[in-house]
Amino acid sequence: MTEVSIELTVNGRARQATVPPRMLLSDFIRHELSLPGTHVGCEHGVCGSCNVVVDGRAVRSCLMFAVQVDGAQITTVEGLAQGDDLHPIQQAFWEEHGLQCGFCTPGMLATAQELLAENPDPSDDEIREAIAGNLCRCTGYEFVISAIRSAAAKLREPESETVLQPV
């Protein structure tokens, strides 16, 4: 099986690699790119913990081959925070307790990114619909919805600083 050369942009940085065609995008991201923030939960496209953003769209990285993203722009969870600052969506998840074990969270963040880019003021029903493709066993989804609602508000307004103190 001949390996294939690919070039792509990942979290704003140009990357180049040579990969076997069968290497899944999820494995490529985690192991070849050393970005383990994207998680593998099922490898059959149901749980969504492997979701990443490819050319602006949330996709299941376990259902794509790395060779398919030649020329693409990918954002993973590692690309969200800027320096010492969490991205407003991450900040919202923190403030609203939108995660417990965190394993499904990078996938939720990818889904949220796409939703909020298309729909800056989603209703709770729209948020619920959007995350219906991300399985979570910890949260029961309620605070994930709160987090995305809050993230939407943050993205529409200037950011505010929050510190670790009683709320």
Binding site: P20, L24, E43, G45, R60, C62, L63, Q68
Partner: protein, 286 residues
């Protein structure tokens, strides 16, 4: 669960793709991959060769062709769902998409890929049949057009030949007075359904004309329910009529048992959903 090794081709245009397809066997087409790749990860599918058609931009279209909406092989579910053309002329498709998988899967999956995969519980094979769509199968040097009703023959089985690609689906624009109905029951919304019923019909002087009714999920493949269509054609809509038609269809069906839903249940669903879908279609008609 990792796929086994395969040769990978990424042709730049349709002719190159067709040429490759004609030149070897044990080949699968990679479009959206949302059905193929899970099977490959489980090693239920182990093709020797994958032809990635995602570069064939000439196949990425949703077009108004006069009397017909033409949808190309690379049109993604998400694009079709959001297309103003679809919303205007084929709202049943937009409604069905609320029940098909989830956003990330729809971002990559294609309508044509879904039709070729022919899962017994897929909604689109049933919808294409009531819309009387034509499927264009292309190979090197020629193409042929197959009616949707003739395309699906069994579980994961269609009439497509090994050297053909489904390049386009052509859906006649329904008359504006066409009413439609859609119902499905699955364990969770987005799951493959135990039973999907779809219908399109018109009303003329208070009587049903051109009824087209189909179901998915119940038998080996999606199919038109000719007996229901015959029973209601030319009749005034009525609860009793619809109920009898549903009972007869349920009796005549040959439901498959699945891991989670048995044949008796699928008959229950036919009885419950057929009247509802027909009533919805009537209320939307005219």
């Amino acid at each position: 669960m990792k796929p086994s090794a395969f040769h990978y081709e990424r042709p730049a245009d349709l002719q190159a793709a067709l040429g490759l397809l004609a030149s070897g066997d044990d080949t699968r087409i990679l479009a959206g991959g949302q059905s193929l790749v899970p099977m490959m990860n489980y090693r239920l599918a182990q093709p020797e060769r994958l032809i990635d058609i995602n570069r064939l931009s000439e196949l990425d279209f949703i077009r108004d062709d006069g009397d017909v909406i033409a949808i190309g092989a690379l049109a993604r579910h998400a694009a079709i769902k959001a297309s103003p053309l679809i919303l205007k002329h084929l709202p049943i498709i937009a409604e069905a998409y609320d029940w098909i998988a989830h956003a990330a899967v729809r971002n990559r999956g294609t309508l044509c890929g879904n039709l070729c995969h022919a899962d017994a519980a897929s909604e689109m094979p049933a919808i294409m049949q009531i819309l009387e769509a034509d499927l264009v199968l292309s190979k090197v040097g020629s193409s042929r057009t197959i009616a949707a009703c003739d395309f699906f023959v069994g579980v994961y089985e269609t009439v497509i030949a090994a050297d053909e690609i489904l390049t386009e689906v052509r859906i006649p624009k329904p008359a504006p007075c066409t009413g439609w109905g859609f119902e499905e029951v699955a364990m969770r919304r987005g799951d493959y359904a135990w039973c999907t019923i779809v219908a399109a019909l018109q009303l003329e002087d208070g009587r049903i004309t051109a009824p087209r009714v189909a179901m998915a999920g119940v038998e080996d493949c999606a199919a038109r329910l000719a007996t229901v269509e015959d029973a209601i054609a030319g009749q005034a809509p009525a609860t009793r009529l619809f109920g009898q038609g549903a009972d007869a269809a349920a009796e005549a069906a040959a439901p498959t048992d699945s891991a989670t839903g048995n044949a008796a249940y699928k008959r229950d669903l036919m009885r419950a959903l057929l009247p509802r879908v027909l009533s919805e279609a009537v209320s939307r008609a005219g």
